[in-house]
C-alpha cells in the first residue's frame, strides 16, 4: 500500500523535484503569459511566415508569421487548465464515491460497481464528440465529461485502498476506541487513499492533456485564431513539406509536459514500492506471533522438561557417540558423509565492501542422517541453507568455503554448479506451503515438470509418478489432488504437495526450511511424522532449519546451533538438548514455551542478535550472556571440542556443561 509517509519520501527524490519544477514553470508561464510572452500571439507578419528559429523569434514563426513561442505560452493556459479541470472533476467525484463505497461496503458497493462498469464501457470519444456537438467548441464541457468518465478509475482505486485500510488493525482499534465514523474516515482512511490517487492523477493528467490536444488537433477545440497546442500541431502538419521545424516546438511542449507528469507519478510509485520492500516485516516477528498462538504441541513430547531427567540423559548417549565415532573413523557403514560443508562464508555488499553475514560454517550430514539447524532470526541459518542449494539471494554471494556432496565438489561461489544437483539429488521444502507453489498451475503440472525435463520422463509416465508421489505423502485422493490448484488445498495438504515436489526425482538429501512453522498446530505433528517415515522409506538424509526445539528433538539426530552468522554449538541432539555446552543454547532452551512452567514467566534472552556490521570482537553473544567474562572479548573464540562428537564456541564451555 502506498502510504502518505512513503509518498513524501518519493517527493524528495531529485526526479520528482525536477518534474515538479518543469510543471511549475509551465503553470507560472501560462499564468503570467501577458508579461512573459515576447510577442503578441495574434500579431501576424505575412512577410515572415514559417521561419525557423531566429534571434527575433526563438522558436520561429507559424503559417501567418506569428511568434510560435508566444503562441505556445498562451496555448499553455488552455491546455493546462483543461487537464487540471478534468483531473479535479475525476478525483473529487471518484475519491468521494470510492471511499464511501469502500467504507460502507454492502449495497452501496454493488451500486458503485455498476456505475463504474457503465463508465468504463462507455466509448469515451463518442461521448466527447457528442458533448462537443451539444455545447459547441467548448473544451470545458468536454473536459468535465471526460473527468466524469475518468472518475471510474479513481473510484476503483480509492475503493480498493479504503477496503485495505479498513481491514487494517489500527482501524479496528479505532473503532474499538469508539472514534466516530467520520473521524476514522478522515484521519485513518483518507490519508491512505491519497497516495495511490496522487500517483494515478499525475498519469491521468497526461492522458487528459493528450485528449484535449487531440480534440484541438482535429479542430474541435477553441476557434482560431486562439492558440492551442493541438491546433498548432495541426498547422505544423499542414506545413510539413515547407517547414518541418514547425513540428518540433509544437509537439515538443506536449511531450515535455506529459513526460514530466508521467515521470512524476512513476517516481512516486517507485519510491513507495521500494519503501514497501524495505518495510517488509522481519521473519522473526512472524515467528513470534506463531509462538504466542502455539500453546502445547505434540512435538513437545520429546523435549527435556525437567532437571531430574537431564543427569540421566547426559550420561546415556555417550555410548551412542562412541559407536558413531567408530563408524566415522572406519569410513564405512551406512552413516558416512553425504554432505560436507567447511569454512562457508556468505557476504552481502555494504557501503564499505563485502560484509560477511555468515562465517566459517562447517558441518557434515551422513547418509540417512538428519541435521537440525537452530537459531534466532538473524542467526544466518536460512542463508546457510540457501547456500547449500546455490540459491543465496542476489546481491549476496558465497565468498569462501567448500561443499562436498555425494562424493563431488560443488563450487559454492558459482551458483550454476548446483544446477545438476538441485531437484535431482537435493530436494527443498519451503516454509509456507501456500506461497511456495505456483498458483496458476495445477499441482499435477508442477510436480510433473521436473520429472519430464530433468528426469526425461514421458508425460504419461510423469503423471503416473505424480499420483504415486501424492499417495506417498499421504494425500487422500491423489487424482483429485493432481487436478487441483494450490489455493484449493488446505495448508497441511499444500505442505504435503510441496514435500512431494521435493521428492519428485528421488533426492538423496531433503532440505526443509521451517517446514511446520506456518501450519496449524494440529497438522504440525502429522507433517513431522511424514518427514520421519519418508526419511526411513526413501533412505534420505535431511537438513531441517528450525527455531523449534520440538521439531529438532523429534526429527533430527544432530543439531547445529547458530548465532550471529556462526556455529556456536554442534553435537547429537539428545546431548545438546539435555546439557547445552554454550550459554546461548541454554538460553534458547529456557525460553522455549514447551518447557515453560505453568503460570511462570517465560524466561527470555534479553536483547537481540547483533546485525552483521555490528559484531563485537571475541564472542558474538557476550553482550547478552549472563556468564560472560572479560576473556570473552579477547580475540576470536574457536570452536572447541567438548566430547568426541560435540563442539562449542565458548570460553566457559566446560563450566557450562557442568552447571
Amino acid at each position: 500500500m502506498i502510504t502518505w509517509k512513503r509518498l513524501t519520501v518519493g517527493l524528495r527524490r531529485p526526479m520528482a523535484v525536477a518534474c515538479l519544477l518543469v510543471l511549475g514553470t509551465l503553470v507560472i508561464a501560462a499564468v503570467l503569459a501577458k508579461w512573459i510572452a515576447p510577442d503578441d500571439p495574434y500579431q501576424q507578419d505575412l512577410s515572415n511566415v514559417l521561419s525557423g528559429p531566429s534571434a527575433a523569434h526563438w522558436l520561429g514563426t507559424d503559417e501567418l508569421g506569428r511568434d510560435i513561442l508566444s503562441r505556445l505560452i498562451y496555448g499553455a493556459r488552455l491546455s493546462l487548465f483543461a487537464g487540471l479541470l478534468c483531473i479535479a472533476v475525476a478525483v473529487l467525484l471518484g475519491v468521494t464515491a470510492g471511499v464511501l463505497a469502500g467504507f460502507f461496503a454492502g449495497r452501496v458497493m454493488i451500486l458503485f460497481d455498476r456505475v463504474t462498469d457503465l463508465l468504463l464501457a462507455t466509448p469515451v470519444i463518442m461521448i466527447l464528440l457528442t458533448v462537443l456537438a451539444v455545447f459547441g467548441p467548448n473544451m470545458n464541457a468536454a473536459m468535465i465529461a471526460l473527468g466524469v468518465m475518468l472518475s471510474a478509475d479513481f473510484m476503483r482505486l480509492s475503493r480498493g485502498s479504503t477496503l485495505e485500510a479498513r481491514s487494517a488493525l489500527y482501524v479496528d482499534a479505532a473503532q474499538v476506541f469508539g472514534l466516530s465514523r467520520t473521524r476514522i474516515l478522515l484521519r485513518h482512511i483518507v490519508p491512505n487513499v491519497l497516495g495511490p490517487v496522487i500517483v494515478r492523477a499525475s498519469t491521468l493528467f497526461g492522458a487528459a492533456l493528450f485528449i484535449e490536444a487531440g480534440l484541438s488537433f482535429i479542430g474541435l477545440g477553441a476557434r482560431p485564431p486562439t492558440p492551442t497546442w493541438g491546433s498548432m500541431v495541426a498547422a505544423a502538419g499542414n506545413a510539413i513539406y515547407k517547414q518541418p521545424w514547425y513540428l518540433v516546438p509544437t509537439g515538443g511542449i506536449i511531450v515535455l509536459t506529459v513526460l514530466a507528469s508521467n515521470l512524476f507519478g512513476d517516481t512516486l510509485l517507485d519510491a513507495t514500492v521500494d519503501g514497501a520492500a524495505r518495510a517488509r516485516p522481519r521473519r522473526w516477528s512472524r515467528l513470534k506471533k506463531q509462538r504466542q498462538a502455539t500453546v502445547v504441541s505434540a512435538t513437545a513430547v520429546k523435549t527435556p522438561a525437567g532437571n531430574a531427567k537431564s543427569d540421566e540423559t547426559l550420561r546415556a548417549p555417550a555410548a551412542v557417540f562412541e559407536r558413531d565415532a567408530r563408524q566415522a573413523g572406519e569410513g564405512e557403514g551406512p552413516k558416512t558423509g553425504l554432505l560436507s560443508v567447511s569454512g562457508l562464508e556468505v557476504s552481502f555488499p555494504s557501503a564499505d565492501g563485502w560484509r560477511p553475514v555468515v562465517t566459517d560454517v562447517g558441518f557434515e550430514v551422513p547418509h540417512r542422517g538428519s541435521l537440525g539447524i537452530v537459531g534466532e532470526s538473524g542467526s544466518g541459518k536460512t542463508i546457510t541453507m540457501l547456500a547449500l542449494l546455490g540459491l543465496v539471494p542476489s546481491p549476496g554471494k558465497v565468498t569462501a568455503g567448500k561443499i562436498f556432496f555425494n562424493g563431488r565438489e560443488l563450487d559454492p561461489s558459482r551458483p550454476s554448479s548446483f544446477n545438476v544437483v538441485r531437484g535431482s539429488e537435493i530436494g527443498f521444502v519451503a516454509q509456507e506451503p501456500m506461497v511456495s507453489l505456483d498458483p496458476v498451475f495445477t499441482v499435477g503440472a508442477q510436480l510433473a515438470e521436473p520429472m519430464r525435463h530433468r528426469g526425461r520422463m514421458s508425460s504419461r509416465a510423469a503423471h503416473g509418478r505424480v499420483l504415486e508421489l501424492l499417495d506417498l505423502v499421504g494425500m487422500p485422493d491423489p487424482r483429485r489432488a493432481a487436478a487441483s490448484y494450490p489455493h484449493e488445498l488446505s495448508g497441511g495438504m499444500a505442505q504435503r504437495v510441496a514435500i512431494a515436489l521435493a521428492l519428485g526425482l528421488e533426492p538423496k538429501l531433503l532440505v526443509a526450511d521451517e517446514p511446520t512453522t506456518a501450519l496449524d498446530v494440529t497438522v504440525q505433528a502429522d507433517i513431522l511424522d511424514l518427514f520421519r517415515s519418508l526419511q526411513e522409506q526413501l533412505s534420505m538424509s535431511m537438513v531441517i532449519v528450525t527455531h523449534d526445539f520440538g521439531v529438532l528433538a523429534d526429527s533430527c539426530d544432530s543439531a547445529l546451533v547458530m548465532y550471529a552468522g556462526e556455529v556456536v554449538e554442534q553435537g547429537p541432539v539428545d546431548e545438546v538438548l539435555s546439557a547445552p555446552a554454550m550459554p546461548y543454547t541454554a538460553g534458547l532452551l529456557r525460553s522455549n514455551p514447551y518447557s515453560a512452567v505453568a503460570l511462570g514467566r517465560l524466561p527470555v534472552i534479553t536483547g537481540s542478535v547483533p546485525d552483521p556490521g555490528a559484531w563485537p570482537s571475541g564472542c558474538r553473544f557476550q553482550a547478552r550472556c549472563a556468564v560472560a567474562t572479560p576473556e570473552c572479548a579477547e580475540g576470536s573464540i574457536p570452536l572447541t571440542t567438548v566430547t568426541s562428537h560435540r563442539r562449542a564456541r565458548c570460553v566457559r564451555v566446560t563450566e557450562a556443561v557442568r552447571s
Binding site: A121, L129, L132, V233, L391, V440
Partner: protein, 336 residues
C-alpha cells in the same frame, strides 16, 4: 482454511461436465446479461444528449432552402416533429431489433454506414494491439531480467513513448518515412480485398503511430509484473527443486505476470478505439473515426447512435475476451 468449502462447491458443480466448459459458458452468459442493461443505458444517455444539441439536422440537410413547408415536410418525414418520448420509445423498439434508423443524409441504414467503416478502424486497432503486445512483452521481459542498465533503458524508452501524443508522432513519422525518405505512403487506405500488399503498406505508419504508446505501457507493466513474479517464494521453491531457468522465466513467471498484463491490454485496446479517431484524421483513413467527426458536425443522430452502439458492443466483446483469457490464466477467478 477458507478456500476449502469453496473448492468443494466448485468441484461439485464441475464434476459432471468437462473442465473449463462450465466456467467459460457461465462467464459468457453472465457478461451478455450484464451487457443488455449497459447498452440500454448508454444508448439512452446518448439519445437524449444528442436531442439536446443545439443545431438542427434539417437545417444541415437543406441548407439555405430550410424554410416554410419544405422544412416542415422534411422534419415530419424524419419523425423529428413528434414528442421526444415517442421518438425515444420508437428508438428503443427499433434497438431491440438491432436497428437504429437510417442515416439522415445518405438514406442508407446507419448500421450499414458504420459497418462500411469498420475494416479500416479494426485493422488499425488490432494491428496496433498485436504490435504492442508482442513488442511490449518482449521488451518488458528483457528489462525484468536485466534489472540494471538495459532494464532502465527500456523503462525510460517506455515512459518517453507513452508521453508522445499519437497525432504528433504520426506527423513526425510521415515527415520522415513519407516526405523525407519516401518509403511509405503518407496517407490513404487500401482495403485488403483490393491489394494485400497495398493494405499492409498503408497500415504500417498508422499502426506504429497508434501502437507505440500502448507498447510502452505494456512493456512497463510486463517488467513490473515479471519482477514481482520472479520475487515470489514459489520461484525459489521451483528453482530449488530442479525446474530450469528457462521454464522459471517463460512458463512460471510469465504466466503469473500475464494476469495483470491481460487486463492492461484490454484497457489499451478500448483506449485505442478512441485514439484511432484522431490517428485516422492524420492518415486520412476512412474509418469510424472520420465518420464520427463528420456525423457529429452534421448532427446525423442515427449514425452517431449506431457508432455508439458498435463501439459499446466492441468494448463489451473485448471485456469478455479479456475475462476468458484472465480466467484461463488465473485459476482463482474461474467461478467468478
Amino acid at each position: 482454511m477458507t478456500s476449502l468449502p469453496y473448492a468443494r462447491i466448485r468441484r461439485r458443480l464441475e464434476l459432471s461436465l468437462p473442465k473449463g466448459v462450465v466456467t467459460v459458458g457461465r462467464l459468457l452468459a453472465r457478461r451478455v446479461l450484464l451487457a443488455v442493461p449497459l447498452i440500454w443505458a448508454i444508448m439512452t444517455l446518448t439519445f437524449f444528449l444528442l436531442r439536446l444539441a443545439p443545431g438542427d439536422p434539417v437545417v444541415q440537410i437543406l441548407g439555405d432552402r430550410a424554410t416554410g413547408p419544405q422544412y416542415d415536410q422534411l422534419r415530419h418525414q424524419l419523425g423529428l416533429d413528434r414528442p421526444m418520448l415517442q421518438q425515444y420509445l420508437e428508438f428503443i423498439g427499433n434497438l431491440a431489433h438491432g436497428e437504429v434508423g437510417k442515416s439522415l443524409f445518405s438514406s442508407r441504414s446507419a448500421t450499414a454506414v458504420v459497418l462500411d467503416r469498420m475494416p479500416a478502424t479494426l485493422s488499425l486497432a488490432i494491428g496496433a494491439t498485436i504490435l504492442s503486445v508482442l513488442g511490449g512483452i518482449a521488451a518488458g521481459v528483457y528489462a525484468a531480467l536485466r534489472k540494471r542498465a538495459d532494464g532502465s533503458a527500456v523503462q525510460v524508452a517506455a515512459i518517453v513513448g507513452q508521453s508522445v501524443p499519437d497525432f504528433w508522432l504520426g506527423l513526425v513519422l510521415i515527415g520522415l518515412f513519407a516526405v523525407h525518405w519516401n518509403w511509405l505512403p503518407a496517407n490513404g487506405f487500401v482495403p485488403f480485398t483490393e491489394s494485400l500488399n497495398g493494405w499492409a503498406l498503408s497500415m504500417v505508419l498508422p499502426v506504429v503511430t497508434l501502437g507505440l504508446a500502448a507498447m510502452g505501457s505494456v512493456a512497463r507493466m510486463t517488467r513490473a509484473a515479471m519482477i514481482s513474479a520472479l520475487d515470489r517464494e514459489f520461484i525459489r521453491t521451483l528453482r530449488a527443486n530442479g525446474v530450469s531457468n528457462r521454464s522459471i522465466v517463460f512458463r512460471h513467471a510469465l504466466k503469473n505476470a500475464a494476469i495483470p498484463v491481460t487486463t492492461l491490454i484490454g484497457v489499451r485496446f478500448i483506449g485505442m478505439l478512441s485514439s484511432a479517431v484522431i490517428v485516422e484524421q492524420v492518415f486520412a483513413l476512412p474509418g469510424v473515426g472520420t465518420l464520427a467527426i463528420d456525423s457529429a458536425s452534421n448532427h446525423d443522430y442515427p449514425v452517431m447512435q449506431a457508432l455508439v452502439l458498435y463501439l459499446t458492443v466492441v468494448v463489451v466483446a473485448v471485456n469478455v475476451i479479456v475475462d476468458v483469457v484472465y480466467s484461463w490464466l488465473n485459476p482463482k477467478v474461474r467461478l467468478a
